[in-house]
Amino acid sequence: MKFGVVVFPGSNCDQDCVYVLKDVLHRPVITLWHEQTTLQGCDAVVLPGGFSYGDYLRTGAIARFSPIMRAVRAFAQDGGLVIGICNGFQILLESGLLPGAMLRNTALRFICRFVTLRVERTDSPFTNRFQEGQVIRLPIAHNEGRYSIDAKALQTNRGQVLFRYCDADGNLFDAANLNGSMDCIAGIMNKAGNVLGMMPHPERASEAILGSTDGRLVFESMIEAFSHV
C-alpha cells in the first residue's frame, strides 16, 4: 500500500507523516508536490498539517485551488482513501469534500496540548483498529479548529463523526471541548466513508517515546482497510 503525502508551500507536518508511515510503519510513501497533477499511483493520500500558502485569506482557502487538489478530489470521488489532518482537514472542508466549516477557537488563541477523544465508530477505514467508545490521547495544535455546521446538515451527517473531544472517562463536556467545536466534533468523514478530516495529530502520537501510540492506529486502520479491498 503506497501512501502519498501532499506538500503545499507552508505545510509543516508533511515530514512527520512521512516519518511515521515510512520509519514506524514501514510502508512505501512518496511526497506529492502541490503543483503536480497526478497522484503517481498512491493508494491513499495524506493532507498534512501546517499553514498551506501561509493560511492567508482563510485556512485552506488557497490550497483547495492547487493543481494537486484536482487529482485528490477525483481520487476521493472514486473511493480512494484520503485523510486530512489539521490544516489538511481545513483544506478538505474548503474543497467541499467534507461537510462543515472551521472557525477560530472560542478562546481566540492557538492551543497546543494533548487532548482525550472518544472513538465513535469502528466500522470505518480509519478506525477499525480501535474499540468502540475507546478513549484515546492525541495532541491538537491549531488556531482555527472550532468545527461548525448548520443544524440540518449536522443531523444528516451525525453518523459520520469518528472522533469527539471528551474527558478522560469518555464523557462529552464543554470543558473537554477546548476549541468549542459543535457537538464536540474532532474528526468527521464523508458520507461514502473514504475521506476523513481530523484536527488532532495522529502522527504526533505514534510512538511511545512521544507519550502516546494511539495515533498509529489511525494509519494502521487505513492499512487494514486497504488490505481488504
Binding site: 508551500p9 507552508g10 509543516n12 507536518c13 515530514q15 512527520d16 516519518y19 511515521v20 520509519d23 514506524v24 510503519l25 514501514h26 498539517g49 501546517g50 499553514f51 500558502y53 501561509g54 493560511d55 492567508y56 472560542t106 478562546a107 481566540l108 488563541r109 492557538f110 492551543i111 497546543c112 496540548r113 494533548f114 487532548v115 482525550t116 483498529r129 490521547r137 495532541p139 495544535a141 488556531n143 478522560a168 470543558a175 477546548l178 495529530h201 502522527e203 504526533r204 510512538e207 511511545a208 517515546i209 512521544l210 507519550g211 501510540t213 498509529r216 494502521e220
Partner: protein, 816 residues
C-alpha cells in the same frame, strides 16, 4: 522626544537630497570613472550631511574618521552604511574588548565563537548542533507582535544559513508586573502571540523558555529567542564571499521600506517618543520564512553555494560587507537589481532596509540558474545582483551610478572600538545591605507558600506555552513545563538533546558577578536534572546604556561571572548577542545576562525507531529523560546540596516583602560541578524517578511543584526539614524559601536510597533524605500542611489572576 523628532525631520531631508541634487548642479550624476558621484561639496551640503550622520548616531569625530577613510566626503548612502555598521548592534563597539574574556575553546567546538552566524558543536554520531540566542527587545517594546515575531524569524535564519535544520526554539521573556497594568498586559499578550504566530507557522517547535516579571522591565521588556538546528558534521555552510568573480545572489522576499535603520534604533534608549520609531520595526512573513528554510536547505545541498548570510540587522549592508570581510575579498552590487516591493526606493533605503526573510548567497560561477530554480520552486525571488571582487571594497551602484565605495575592513574589522569607562555603581552598597532582623518571619508559612506559587514569575506558564506549537517535528520527548529542561530526541540516533535558557536580572542587579554565575549554574543544573551532560553555552546580554560607566561595570562583571562559571563547568561560550540601551524614561533594566545551554543524553534506546508493523515497540530504555514530578507513593525524596541562610534577591523577599535587597546566593562552582557529575551518573544508572532544582522560591516551592506538575496525577509528600544539611541557626523562612544554589530535589524508589547516598558521598555532595512521596497533602512538619489541590490551584491559576481572566478565555489551564 527630541532625538526622534530630529530624526524624522532628517529623514525627510534624506529624500530631498536625492531628488534635490539632480537638478541642482553639484550633484549632477557623474560617471563612475571620476569618482565624484553625488558627493556633497558645498559647506552647506556637508553641514547637512553631518546632521544626517548625527541622526545615525555618528558623532562629528566619527564623521571626520569616515572622511579620512574615504579620502573625500561621503555620499548619503555611505553615511547610512557607516551608521548602521558602526551601530552598537552591528559593531559590538562597546562590548567587543570585554567579550574576549569568554572561554571559547573546547573539543566539541566546530567554529570559533563569533566567526559564523551561530555557534556550532559536535554532538557525536556525525551530527553537529548550531545554536544561538538573540534579542529583539527594542522592536518588541514599541510593536510587540511584529517585534517578537521577527525576533523569531531572525534567529531562525541565523541557524539555517549554516545549513542546519531548525529543530527547536526557546524564549526568555521579561516584563514589568502584570497586575493592573494595561500596557504591560498588551506587551505580554502581543509578544506571546508574535512568537506563536511566527514559530507555529514555520513549523519549528517552541519547546521551552522562561518568563520573569520585575519592575525594571516595565518600559523595556526583553524578548530573547534561542534557536537550535541540526546538521551533518562537515556540511556547514559558511558566511564567506570567496572566489572573485563568483556571482552574488539575492534570495527571498522583496525589499521594502520596513525596518529602515532598525539596527540604529536598537542602539538607542527607549524614550517617550519611541512610538515614532515604529517604522524601524520590521514586519515578518512566516510563510515566506518557511519557504525560505526549505529552499535554502535544498540549495545548500547542491554544493554550489560558496557562502551565505542572512540579511538581518542592517540588511543588505551587513551581508555585503561581512561576507567579503571574512574572505578578504570585496563585493560589487547593483541596487537596481534588488527586488522591491515599493516604488521609488533610494539606494540608501535599499541598503538599509531590514525587510525580513531575505538572504545573500555567493554561488559558484555557472550555477546561478541551478540555484535560483530552488527558490523559484518555493515562490521566492532569486536574483543575481553582483559579484565577488578582489579589491576588498564594497561597491554599490544604482544602474550606471556608483553610490557607495568603501573599504570592507573599514566597516568590519576596523570599525571603532570604544574602551568604555567603568565605575562600581553607587546603588550597590545600599541595596546589598540586608539585615534579616528587618524581615519579619511569617506567621503562616502555608499562606506564604501559596502566595509564592501564585506569583507570576513562579506560576505555571501553560497559558503561554500552549499557544506555541511545541510538538511539531515530533521530537519533543519532554513537554514544556514537565521538567527543568526541554528534551528532544534526535531521530535515527541513540541520543537526546536537552536545552534550557536561564537568567535572573534581580540577582545581577544586586551582584552582577555572582548573579551571572548563578545564571550559568542554574542552566547547567536544569540540564542535569533531565539527565543531560551540559556541553556548551550561548548567551544574550541585555543591559542599559554602555555610555554609563556604572552599566559598563555591570556588563564587565557579568561577562566575568559567565566566563568563570563556563570555565569551571567545561562549557565553552560558542557565541551570543549583546543588547545595550535597554533603557526607558524610568531608567535602565536590571542587568540581564541570559544563558542558553545545551546538553546531551547518550545511550538512549528506542529514539530512532525501527519497529515492524504494529508490534509493541520497546519503551525507551534507561537512561531516559527525567521529569520533575513525583511519581509514586512511598518513593523517597532526597535533597542534594547544602542550604544556607540566603534570602537576598529571592522571590520570597520580592513577592512577600516587596524588597529587592541583599546579596544573591553564593555559587560554589566546585560544588556545582560535583553536583552535575553526581546527577549525570545517577540518571545514567536509572536511579532517579524525578529531579527538580531549587530556584525561585527555594525548597518549599520546588517540593510543591514536584507534587503538582502532573495535573492528572497530583501527589503529596511528607517532609522533615530538620534533617536538611545546613548551617546552624538557619532561619525557617531561609530554610523553606531561600534560594541557595547547588541544590536539587530528587525522588527514587526506597531501594535506591543507599546507592544514591554512596554516589553522593563519592562526589562529595551533601545528601539528605527529606521524606516520602504519598498522600494528598504536602506536609512539611510542623509548619506547612496543604492539600495538593490548593497548591495546584494557586500555581495553575497565578498567571491568569495576574492577567485578568478575560484576556485568556477560561479554558485550558491544566496539562494533560
Amino acid at each position: 522626544m527630541s532625538n526622534v523628532s530630529v530624526k524624522k525631520r532628517d529623514r525627510g531631508k534624506i529624500r530631498n537630497i536625492k531628488f534635490g541634487v539632480r537638478g541642482s548642479g553639484f550633484g549632477v550624476r557623474r560617471s563612475i570613472l571620476n569618482s565624484k558621484f553625488r558627493i556633497p561639496n558645498s559647506p552647506a551640503d556637508v553641514a547637512l550631511l553631518k546632521r544626517v550622520a548625527r541622526s545615525h548616531n555618528l558623532t562629528d569625530e566619527l564623521y571626520e574618521r569616515i572622511v579620512r577613510i574615504l579620502g573625500r566626503q561621503p555620499t548619503l548612502t555611505e553615511v547610512g552604511i557607516f551608521g548602521v555598521m558602526y551601530s552598537e548592534h552591528c559593531s559590538y563597539c562597546s562590548s567587543k574588548p570585554t567579550l574576549k574574556l569568554f572561554p571559547t575553546k573546547g573539543k566539541r567546538i566546530l567554529v570559533p565563537a563569533g566567526k559564523e552566524n551561530a555557534g556550532l558543536i559536535d554532538i557525536g554520531d556525525g551530527l553537529a548542533v548550531a545554536f544561538k540566542v538573540e534579542s529583539h527587545n527594542h522592536p518588541s517594546a514599541v510593536e510587540p507582535h511584529a517585534g517578537a515575531a521577527t525576533g523569531v524569524g531572525g534567529i531562525v535564519r541565523d541557524i539555517f544559513t549554516m545549513g542546519a535544520r531548525p529543530i527547536a526554539l526557546l524564549d526568555s521573556l521579561r516584563f514589568g508586573p502584570l497586575q493592573n497594568d494595561a500596557r504591560t498586559r498588551f506587551l505580554f499578550e502581543g509578544i506571546v502571540r508574535g512568537i506563536a504566530d511566527y514559530g507555529n507557522c514555520i513549523g519549528v517547535p517552541t519547546v521551552g523558555g522562561e518568563i520573569l516579571f520585575d519592575e525594571s522591565y516595565r518600559g523595556n521588556p526583553l524578548v530573547n529567542v534561542m534557536c537550535i538546528g541540526i546538521l551533518p558534521k562537515g556540511k556547514i555552510a559558511r558566511a564567506v564571499a570567496k572566489g572573485p568573480g563568483n556571482p552574488v545572489v539575492y534570495v527571498g522576499s522583496s525589499t521594502g521600506r520596513d525596518g529602515l535603520g532598525g539596527a540604529s534604533f536598537a542602539s538607542r534608549e527607549i524614550t517617550d517618543g519611541s512610538d515614532a520609531d515604529r517604522p524601524a520595526v520590521q514586519i515578518g512573513d512566516p510563510f515566506a520564512e518557511k519557504c525560505l528554510i526549505e529552499a535554502t536547505l535544498e540549495a545548500l545541498a547542491t554544493g554550489d553555494v560558496v557562502g551565505i548570510q542572512d540579511m538581518g540587522a542592517a540588511g543588505l549592508t551587513c551581508s555585503t560587507c561581512e561576507m567579503p570581510s571574512r574572505a578578504g575579498t570585496g563585493i560589487a552590487i547593483d541596487v537596481d537589481k534588488v527586488p522591491r516591493r515599493e516604488e521609488g526606493m533610494t539606494p540608501y533605503e535599499v541598503m538599509l532596509s531590514e525587510s525580513q526573510e531575505r538572504m545573500l548567497l555567493v554561488v559558484k560561477r555557472g550555477s546561478v540558474e541551478r540555484i535560483t530554480q530552488h527558490f523559484s520552486r518555493w515562490g521566492l525571488n532569486a536574483v543575481e545582483i553582483g559579484h565577488v571582487t578582489d579589491n576588498a571594497r564594497l561597491r554599490v551602484k544604482e544602474g550606471g551610478d556608483r553610490v557607495a565605495d568603501i573599504p570592507v575592513s573599514a566597516l568590519t574589522d576596523q570599525a571603532p572600538i570604544f574602551q568604555r569607562p567603568t565605575k562600581r555603581p553607587r546603588y550597590l552598597s545600599k541595596v546589598q545591605r540586608l539585615s534579616l532582623k528587618d524581615i519579619p518571619q511569617p506567621r503562616d508559612y502555608a499562606a506564604v507558600l501559596l502566595k509564592l506559587l501564585a506569583s507570576p514569575t513562579i506560576a505555571n506558564k501553560a497559558a503561554v506555552f500552549e499557544q506555541y506549537d511545541h510538538m511539531v517535528q515530533a521530537n519533543t520527548v519532554v513537554l514544556p513545563g514537565r521538567a527543568d529542561a526541554a528534551v528532544l530526541r534526535l531521530k535515527g540516533t541513540n541520543r537526546f538533546l536537552a536545552a534550557t535558557i536561564d537568567g535572573n536580572g534581580r540577582y545581577c542587579y544586586l551582584d552582577p558577578y555572582e548573579g551571572s554565575k548563578l545564571a550559568v549554574a542554574e542552566a547547567a543544573r536544569n540540564l542535569v536534572c533531565v539527565g543531560a551532560t551540559p556541553l556548551a553555552v550561548t548567551n544574550c546580554l541585555n543591559f542599559g546604556s554602555p555610555q554609563d560607566p556604572e552599566i559598563m561595570w555591570q556588563f564587565k562583571e557579568c561577562v566575568r561571572g559567565i566566563s568563570d562559571a563556563c570555565r569551571a563547568f567545561g562549557t565553552p561560550v560558542t557565541g551570543g548577542n549583546v543588547s545595550f540601551y535597554n533603557e526607558s524614561p524610568d531608567g535602565a533594566i536590571d542587568p540581564t545576562p541570559v544563558i542558553g545551554m545545551i546538553g546531551i543524553i547518550e545511550g538512549v534506546q528506542g529514539s530512532g525507531l525501527r519497529v515492524e508493523g504494529s508490534c509493541p515497540e520497546p519503551r525507551a530504555q534507561s537512561p531516559e529523560p527525567i521529569t520533575a514530578n513525583f511519581k509514586a507513593e512511598d518513593d523517597c525524596i532526597i535533597l542534594f546540596g547544602e542550604t544556607k541562610e540566603e534570602l537576598g534577591g529571592g522571590e520570597y523577599l520580592s513577592a512577600i516583602h516587596q524588597r529587592k535587597v541583599g546579596r544573591p546566593p553564593r555559587v560554589d562552582l566546585h560544588a556545582e560541578r560535583a553536583l552535575q557529575r553526581l546527577m549525570v551518573e545517577a540518571s545514567a544508572q536509572g536511579w532517579l524517578k524525578s529531579a527538580h532544582d531549587c530556584s525561585e522560591g527555594g525548597l518549599a516551592v520546588a517540593l510543591a511543584e514536584s507534587c503538582i506538575i502532573d495535573a492528572q496525577h497530583l501527589i503529596g509528600a511528607t517532609i522533615d526539614v530538620s534533617r536538611v544539611t545546613c548551617h546552624v541557626s538557619l532561619r525557617l523562612d531561609a530554610l523553606l524559601f531561600g534560594e541557595s544554589a547547588g541544590r536539587i530535589i530528587v525522588s527514587c524508589v526506597p531501594e535506591s536510597v543507599e546507592v544514591l547516598g554512596h554516589l553522593a558521598k563519592k562526589h562529595e555532595v551533601p545528601a539528605t533524605v527529606l521524606g516520602r512521596v504519598g498522600g494528598s497533602r504536602l506536609l512539611i512538619e510542623p509548619w506547612i500542611d496543604v492539600r495538593v489541590e490548593a497548591l495546584n490551584d494557586a500555581w495553575r491559576g497565578g498567571l491568569k489572576v495576574a492577567l485578568g481572566q478575560e484576556q485568556w478565555g477560561t479554558k485550558g489551564s491544566g496539562d494533560t
